[in-house]
Structures are given as C-alpha cells and as structure tokens.
Symmetry: C2
Subunit: 334 residues, 2 copies
DNA sequence: CTGAAAGCGCTAACAA
DNA sequence: TTGTTAGCGCTTTCAG
C-alpha cells in the first residue's frame, strides 16, 4: 500500500462517474431503481477505482447488521467442521459471520465482549462453558443460540445432539455384536458428559445388563483415556464406550500397551467423529453428530430471533448416528 | 432479547446522566478531560443501562481501525496455535483481531473480500495458497503480512520458518544416531514443500551422503504417507524425513503394517509439531516452528506498516527446532 | 430514473 | 472541566 492514498468512497465514485452518491449506492447494493446503462457505467468506474463499500458505515446507517457472531474454541477439531457448516448456512441466508475464538489465554468473556462491540445481530456459541446465568445475561442483550450443550433457560436457544441416543447407538451396536460386559469411560464435568453417561446406563438397562454397568472415571483428554485403560486392565470388559474420541485414543493406546488386541480382545467406541478418528491407524468406531444439519438449524434459529419470528421450541435436539470403523468387532471366544 | 428494545447509545447515557455526549465519549474511552466524580457517575449510568460502545461507529468516525484481519484455514491444527499467539500479540499491541476462515467450501478470495469490507487496517494470512499476483494485488490496497510461506514480491511482508533448516535439523539428528540411508517423503506442490525437499538434499550432501539421497513422491495427507510407505517397503531405508506430520502418521501406519518396527527397524521424523503428533501412541519426532515468536513478529510487522514505519526487511525467517520423541532411534544392527 | 438532504453513533475540534 | 458542532461513509426518505 502506498502511503497517503485514501481508499475511494462512494462520493469519489459518484464524482468520477458524474452521478449522485445515492445512485451509486443503489447500484452497489444491486437495488432496483437505476438504468441499465448507468448501472454499467457506475460499476465500471467503481471497479477501476478499486472501490470497496465500507460495511461499517453501511451497517451503521441501515441499522440492520446482518452479522452473526460465532464463538468457537481453538484446538477443537470438531469446531472446525462446525464453522464450515455455519459459513455455508449463513451464506445461503445472506448473512455474514464474524468469528471470535476462545484460546488457552483468551476466555469466553473476552470473546463475547468483542462480538458485542461489533454489533452482531445474534450470537452462536459452540459448546460454551460459561454458567447458565452468564448466558442468560447475554441473551438479555441479543439473541443467543447455544450449540452442543443443554441450557435450561427460557431466553437461550439451543441446538444440540441427542447425546443419550448417541450412547444408545454405541451400546446397541456392541450388544448386536455379542458383547455384554461393556464399560463406559466418563467425561467428568465436561459439557454433555452427564447425558452420555446416563445414555450408556439406560441402554445397558434396556438390554437387561444393569448388573454389568461399569462407569470408569475419565475426562476429555488422551491422558484421561490412558488412565482409564490402567483401571480396566485388571479385569477388562469386552467393550468400552467413551466420552469422546480423544479419550478413546488414549484408551486404545493404553489397552494395546497392556497387551490387549483391539478389536480382537476388546472393542472401543469413541464420540465426535473427529478428523483424527478417521486416520487409518486409529480407525475408530465413533458416534457422529450431524454437523451440517445443526449448523443450518442454528443459523436459521438465530435469524428467526433477529426477525422476531415466533419460535415454537427453544431447544432442538438432533439424533446422532454411528460410524462403524475398525475398533469394534465380536467379543473374543471363551 | 425482548423485542422493540433498542440498545442504548451514547446519547441515552448522556441524557440519563445529565451531561453531554462528548463527556460520555471521553469517559468511555478513558481519555483525559473529565472530573473523577463525573467519571464515576457516567460509568455507573452506562453500566446500569447496559451500554456497549458501537465499535463500528467509533472506527468510522475516528478513521483509525485498529483492526487486524486474519485469514486462517479450518482443519489445520497448526493454525489454531497460531491464532492463539496472534490474539496475544494483538492484545498486547492494543489491536483487535477479526477472523475469516477458509473452509472446504469457502475459498481464500471470499475470505479476503469479507475482511476488506470490514475495513481492516492490515491483513495477516496464514499459509495462503493464492498466487503471488493475487497477494500483490491485495497488498496494493492494504498492508499484507504472509506467514508460513515465501512470497517474492516487494509489496508483501513475510514471516516464515527456515524450512530448509528444519530439514537440516532432522537429517543431522538422524545422522547423529548413526543413520545413513535416509529418504524424504515429499510434499508435492504444497506451500514450502520445495524448500523442505531442498533442505533435505543439502543436508545429505553436507554429510557426504549425496549418493543415498532418495526423494519419494508424497503430499500433505495421511494417504500420501501411506502410499510412500508402500514404495519404501521393497527396499526400506533406516530413516525417513517427511513433509508434514499428517503424511508421517500415514507413513508410520504403512510401515508398521508392512512389518517394520518403528523406531527399531526404521526412524520417522514429521514436520509441524501438530497437536496429534504429541498423542502418546503417535509420539512423533518432529520439526516445530516457533509459533509465538512468529505471531508476535507478524502483528508487529503489520502495525509497523499501518503506521508507515520504515521496515528494513520484508521477509523475516525464524529458525525451527527439533522435538525428539519416540519415532526416532539408532538404526538396526547389521 | 435520478438527486438533494438528513442522520446512523460516535469522535475531535473548538468554545465556553 | 464541560458543551457545541461538524462530520466519518453510507442508506434512505422525499422531491424533481
């Protein structure tokens, strides 16, 4: 960029084209009310001058922001896929996305504040950890759609997966293969951990296996899975469901180091269908959430709220599906 | 959000506090020129009304944007770490970041355009794939800092890793362990692949191993690594360097399936220190880039350009370092 | 179909 | 220390 050069404004284009600014505005927005010839000319001048409309001024004047703020967390491979879906959905709806990341050194509060100042019309939060009260306070100011987490508050919209059903699918799959001694590695206090644990317990009961229910303390990291493996090695079940894929990979490694073959001796099911779960040497059977559907739903819901459309349900729960890969198979013969 | 409720403006706060808008503006910015008592009062009213300054109006008026646009790609675990570093650096410098993602269905052009409309003061691009001419055209409009890629154009600033040196480190490490037959799995046409390949070749020559230079066609994905493994199994070397971690994991899997022990029979070195390379069961020796230093440098450079500070070098090249983990060891005895 | 004028929420002169 | 005033670049009436 050469110094001293000002970016061209509407007025510059208007002057150069010999028309009024209002007309240029009409042309740039593609709004009706300009002759085809004039339109061509203006467009040509704008291109030549390298004119870029200033979205700040535009939004400021028009009052409407058509801007959706998204808060996501880095190092969640899962969120990357969601962003992809959200961009698609926003694009289809004629909205822009503005992103604010949560990083190890940038908390949710900061991420929220940034978006608030940008005058987003609504916020979409991916698996926020903030207490419900904070989310409710936010929702006081603008429509808030929370994804991948249940929030029991009437001001907050929720689009999440039926996590209990996810574990039903996992257990059903294992039982169909012939497993009975199925353990679950828990997700501790993480978002959705409780529902997944209860899903596991329900499913076991439904199959008449309540006496074999076994919940192992865990967490969201690989090391949590590895720790769980150590706890299981003394008396290994024939199959394990887990809170998430990362924990499952740690578990896999721990079990193999302990001399067990997967899936020969023991089957493992993850949760999330993370990108690394697809890697050939991990090849994890896992529960996948329908990210595209959920993204579309979240954007639609946000826009409905912005428009003030009455919405019947605050919470939308999407069924997950099972992706069967190489870490599950029949139990070993006795 | 209850419908019909307008967000409070400066004027609302001023009216409520019984002072002028200018004074409120001064207080909200923390600028000098307001009495302590008034300041307290105004702040209190603002808090009570839930006033949030409108950064768009603020920026529009002040002319300065203090906004850095960042283009990153989704599904690059590496970029997550860079974002973390960039937020830190921007925060220290008193700048805001606005993110625009490249996704499988949202190309770089679109990502650039979005930021341009937001009137960023400068752009930071993480490993852009766009041709140099496009980047130069962008740099015509505002300062552009490219990271993780060499761009030979006087209008574009570059902060990148000395990738050749990265492969020198890898080869030196392997040679020190006693390896001589070291192959390199190439990154095809990807950003930086050429320099890494040349780094490998140089290092081999420096160690008098030019006759043992062996470049295997590859790519950036796991499947490329797996394919390379098949090519190597006929006549395996004792060590392999790779274009990146993902390719290395595919290679690892392919080699192990082919009956080789890593690192007993063959050592493998990745590149990037991706988060998954740290997973205990992958535990990949890899070349790490100094992300924090590079992030700080990129932000600093962008701000220098915005301010019009004369900058001596357009290109800053940072040395990488080797992270030794479990996939490298001495070559097998003969 | 086109132009003139007002004002979005804010900051920065300047005046009081 | 405080208030008044004039815009930033744009959209949006409302006249012509």
């Amino acid at each position: 960029m050469r110094a001293g050069e000002r970016r061209p404004t509407l007025a510059d284009v208007a002057a150069e084209a010999g028309v009024s600014v209002a007309l240029v505005s009409i042309v740039m927005r593609g709004a009706p009310g300009a002759g085809a010839t004039t339109r061509q000319q203006v467009l040509e001048v704008a291109r030549r001058l390298g004119y870029q409309p200033d979205s700040r001024a535009r939004l400021l004047r028009s009052g409407e922001s058509r801007l959706l703020g998204v808060v996501f967390a880095v190092r969640h491979p899962f969120h990357d896929d969601v962003l992809t879906g959200l961009y698609d959905a926003a694009d289809r709806a004629g909205y822009e996305l503005t992103l604010s990341a949560v990083t190890p050194r940038r908390d949710e509060r900061t991420a929220f504040a940034g978006l608030l100042q940008d005058r987003c019309a609504a916020l979409i939060l991916l698996g926020p950890l903030a207490p419900t009260a904070d989310l409710a306070a936010l929702a006081e100011r603008l429509p808030v759609v929370v994804m991948f987490r249940a929030v029991r508050h009437r001001a907050v919209d929720v689009v999440r997966t039926d996590d209990a059903r996810g574990l039903h699918l996992a257990v059903d799959h294992l039982v169909a293969l012939g497993h009975r001694r199925i353990a679950h590695v828990d997700g501790a206090r993480w978002v959705a951990a409780g529902e997944r644990r209860r899903g596991y317990q329900d499913a076991m009961r439904r199959h008449g296996l309540e006496d074999l229910i076994r919940v192992i303390p865990g967490g969201s990291g690989e090391e949590d899975g590895a720790r769980a493996a150590r706890l299981l090695l003394d008396d290994p079940p024939t199959a394990v469901t887990t809170f998430n894929d990362l924990s499952a990979t740690g578990l896999l490694d721990g079990l193999r180091r302990g001399g067990l073959d997967v899936p020969g001796d023991i089957s493992v099911v993850g949760y999330d269908d993370s990108s690394f779960s697809r890697l050939a040497h991990i090849d994890l059977t896992t529960v996948a959430q329908d990210i595209d559907a959920m993204s579309t739903l979240a954007v639609t819901r946000a826009i409905e709220r912005i428009a003030g459309t009455p919405v019947a349900h605050r919470e939308t729960v999407i069924p997950p599906h099972l992706v069967v890969r190489g870490t599950t198979g029949p139990p070993p013969m006795r």
